[in-house]
């Protein structure tokens, strides 16, 4: 390990499903305190990459380190640092928002005395105070998306992995979520995936462009765009 790295590091990470390779030899790092965008068309390997960081999937080869912990050698230690919002906002429909967040907090080791403020904090940050006692199954898609965000924040993790956090939201919710991500990015390491170029260029200073499971480019939004727009640069990369 090269010094005190508290972000996320991927080194030569490959994942195969049977004969097909979803992610091939991917290396990049998310530095402490930055919002990094993972950009790529559908099927580029963004979700698979995120799932290997969060420990839902194991890399076929290569290493992933989260907050200094190797996900293969110390999976629980690595997962402790992560708040994860999966692509599909899934939560048990029969539970209330509050009881679900409480469950998530306990599961992630929040001490008993801290449970109440932790849940209240997550409800507040995700704008869920008014629906705390409602069953998740009765909420709209937008609110369920916020529940997914709240559960990622409830244990106050240093690293956030957000898979398409604004998909399925209405324009106002998109703006609110982006503001929240920007705020969260000031004190945390955030990896965010998106297929929306405007979103990435707005929220992130650095981006990783993935296509067909491979890294096409890593760098500052400004230098990648090279004077033009990120869109032009992106299309150039994906086409080549």
């Amino acid at each position: 390990m090269n010094g005190a790295h508290h972000g996320v590091e991927l080194e030569g990470v490959t994942r195969r499903f049977g004969r097909s390779t979803a992610v091939a030899d991917v290396s990049f790092d998310v530095r402490q305190g930055e919002v990094l965008g993972l950009l790529g068309p559908n099927g580029a390997g963004k979700t698979t990459t995120m799932r290997m960081i969060t420990g839902y999937l194991r890399p076929t080869s290569g290493t992933v380190r989260v907050n200094g912990a190797d996900t293969a050698a110390d999976p629980v230690g690595a997962r402790r640092s992560i708040g994860y919002m999966p692509e599909l906002p899934a939560a048990p429909p029969e539970m209330t928002v509050r009881s679900y967040l409480r469950f998530c907090a306990r599961l992630r080791g929040v001490p008993r005395a801290r449970l109440r403020p932790a849940v209240a904090g997550a409800l507040g940050q995700a704008g869920l105070h008014d629906v705390g006692d409602q069953r998740i199954g009765t909420l709209s898609r937008g609110f369920r998306q916020r529940v997914a965000l709240a559960q990622a924040l409830v244990h106050d993790p240093p690293v956030l992995v957000l898979d398409e956090p604004t998909s399925g939201l209405d324009p106002r919710q998109v703006v609110e979520t982006r503001e929240l991500v920007t705020k969260l990015g000031r004190s945390r390491t955030v990896l965010l995936s998106s297929h929306l170029l405007s979103e990435v260029s707005q929220l992130c200073r650095r981006v990783v462009v993935l296509d067909h499971g491979k890294v096409l480019a890593v760098g500052d939004v400004a230098s990648l765009s090279g004077g033009g727009t990120l869109e032009e640069a992106y299309l150039r990369l994906v086409r080549d």
Binding site: G55, Y56, V76, R80, Y84, P86, A90, P92, L107
Partner: protein
């Protein structure tokens, strides 16, 4: 252990918040009652036939309850959050087992009305009732462990339930097949099948061999469950 208990408490509560959970409890109690009526037609205060059928019903109940533990969670997408939480696989498996075990205890407690009813009408032997219930717990937990392992291997709850039933039926069927064999194959299949190991409970005897059998089946189910969870990553 705290994490395991957290998972167990959530699952237990969820079961009694859903129509499916309440329905399965009511269904199990009703089936136990119907079986009692049939058994009591013999006009004897003996419950061996009732317990014998209850063990088979436990297989169905275990298959239905465990299909939600992993397969339904995967279908909903909530398994991903569970498995990406800082929880060890054995904690997840223990929590899932305890959750279903809690439901099972409630369901079994509901059947206590049956022996009490029989006791009010006649004088049944207390011994076989006691060992019968020890059997219910052992058989129930072992079958649940088998069901959990199958449930972890699929994302389709229906496949999980049918798969668990198939495995349990195959185990049970080994006892039936053994009747047509001789020598060591017969002995081996007899030992493999749960049917041979519940006879003692029905008679009122508690042998180490039978207890070891069900505890082993329980342990095998749980270990398989952990392996399946790790292999799918």
């Amino acid at each position: 252990m705290r994490q395991a208990l957290t998972i167990a408490a959530r699952d237990l509560r969820a079961n009694f918040l859903t129509a499916f959970g309440l329905g399965s409890t009511a269904g199990f109690a009703a089936a136990a009652g119907v079986v009692l009526v049939v058994v009591l037609r013999g006009n004897q205060a003996r419950l061996a036939g009732w317990f014998g059928t209850l063990y088979v019903l436990l297989g169905v109940l275990a298959a239905l309850l465990t299909m939600r533990s992993f397969a339904e969670e995967e279908r909903l997408g909530t398994l991903e959050l569970l498995l990406t939480s800082p929880v060890r696989p054995w904690q997840v498996v223990t929590g899932k087992l305890l959750g279903v075990a809690g439901v099972l205890l409630v369901d079994v407690a509901a059947t206590l009305a049956c022996p009490l009813l029989v006791a009010s009408m006649g004088h049944p032997d207390a011994g076989p009732i006691l060992t019968g219930y020890v059997g219910v717990i052992l058989v129930g937990l072992a079958f649940v462990a088998v069901g959990l392992a199958v449930s972890a291997a699929t994302s389709n709850p229906l496949v999980a339930a049918v798969g668990s039933l198939a495995v349990l039926l195959a185990l049970w069927g080994a006892g039936i097949v053994s009747g047509g064999l001789t020598g060591w194959p017969r002995l081996a299949l007899e030992e493999l099948a749960p049917s041979g190991h519940v006879v003692g409970f029905l008679r009122g005897t508690l042998s180490t061999k039978d207890v070891v059998y069900f505890v082993s089946l329980l342990a095998l189910g749980l270990v398989t469950n952990v392996v399946v969870l790790e292999e799918r990553r």
